[in-house]
Symmetry: C2
Subunit: 191 residues, 2 copies
C-alpha cells in the first residue's frame, strides 16, 4: 500500500505538480480512504520528503560502490554518468519530481536533501580533481564548473528523453560519455 | 505598471511556484488592487503565457541574428551558448519560471511555446549538422542528441549559477564553450 501510494503520487506530481495535487487526488487513484494515507504519512510534505530521501540515498550508495572500485578516474566517471542516465528508464518520473519539487519541502527537510545533493556533486568534483592530477583530464578545467556541466547533461535528460523513442538509455549514455570525455580528456591521456 | 506586475510575479513564481502564488499575492507586493491586475491580464495563466512568449520570442530573434551572420559554424555555436549563459545575469529568474512552469499553461498555449522551443533547438541541430558536413565537428555525433547535451549544460546553469558568486557569466560562458568545443570538434578542424 505504501509503495502504491508513493508510485501514484509520483505520477500525479509529474502531471499536475506537487501544489496542485491533493491527498484526495492521490487516494482516489487507488480507491482507498484518506485514513490509509495518514497511516503511512503524516502529511503530503512527509510523502515528498520520503520520495526525495529514498532517491538520493540510493544514488549516493550506488555512486559509492563505483568510487570504491579500482577503476581509472575516467572509467569511474563513465560509470557515474551511466548510472544517472540508465536510471531514466526506471526512475524517470521520480527524478523529475526530485529535480522540480524540492522547494515544497519544509526548510529543515530541504536542507538535508540539499546536503546530500552537494555530497553527490562533490564526489564527482573530487573525482575530476584527482583525474586532473593523474593527467587523465585537462589541467585547465575547473572541476566544480565541469561537474555542473556533466550534471546538466545527465539531469536535463530527465526532462526530454522518452523511453518510448528509438534510442535506448544505453545508447544515450554511450553518446554522452563520449561527448564528455572528448570535452575533458587530456590530449596525452591513453584511451 | 504592467512591467512591474510581470517583474514581481516572476519573483513570486521563482520563490513559491506558480500554483502557490495568488493574484492577491502579486498585487500585494506592489500595493495595487486586483482590478489593476485584471486591467492588464485576463488571468494568472494569461500572465504566465505573456512571460513565456516574450522570453522565447526574444531568444529566437537574437538567435536568428547570430545565424544570419557570416561566421563559421563553430563561432555561431559559441555565440548561441554565450547568448543563453550571459542572459542568466539579467534573465535568471524569468528563465527559471520558463523552464519550470510550462505545464501550468493551457494546452493551446503550451503547444505554441513548445513549438517555439523546438524551433530554437532545431536551429542548433541544423547548425551542428552543417558543421559536421563542413568537417568542423566530428562525423560520428548525433546532432539532435548533442543539441540536448548543450542545452542541458546551458539551461541547468539557470538552476545553480549565482550571479553573486566570484565567477562572472562571461567566465562561465568561456569555460562551457571550451568544454563543448572539445566535445564536438573534429580532430582535424582548424582552431
Amino acid at each position: 500500500m505504501k509503495s502504491e501510494l508513493i508510485k501514484q503520487s509520483i505520477n500525479l506530481f509529474v502531471e499536475k505538480g506537487f501544489s496542485a495535487t491533493s491527498i484526495q487526488d492521490i487516494v482516489d487513484t487507488i480507491g482507498v480512504t484518506k485514513g490509509s494515507f495518514y497511516y503511512h504519512f503524516k502529511s503530503k510534505e512527509a510523502l515528498l520528503m520520503d520520495i526525495h530521501s529514498h532517491y538520493i540515498d540510493d544514488l549516493l550508495k550506488r555512486q559509492k560502490t563505483i568510487l570504491d572500485t579500482e577503476k581509472s578516474h575516467k572509467d569511474k566517471l563513465i560509470a557515474i554518468v551511466e548510472l544517472i542516465i540508465v536510471d531514466i528508464e526506471k526512475q524517470g518520473a521520480v527524478g523529475r519530481v526530485y529535480f522540480r519539487e524540492i522547494r515544497h519541502l519544509k526548510e529543515e527537510n530541504a536542507a538535508v536533501i540539499r546536503q546530500k545533493r552537494a555530497d553527490f556533486r562533490n564526489n564527482i568534483e573530487v573525482l575530476l580533481k584527482e583525474g586532473i592530477r593523474a593527467n587523465e583530464f585537462r589541467r585547465e578545467l575547473q572541476p566544480k564548473i565541469i561537474t555542473f556541466a556533466i550534471l546538466g547533461i545527465t539531469n536535463w535528460s530527465y526532462q526530454w528523453f522518452s523511453v518510448e523513442g528509438s534510442l535506448t538509455v544505453k545508447e544515450l549514455s554511450a553518446m554522452y560519455t563520449d561527448f564528455i570525455l572528448h570535452g575533458i580528456q587530456s590530449p596525452n591521456a591513453s584511451n
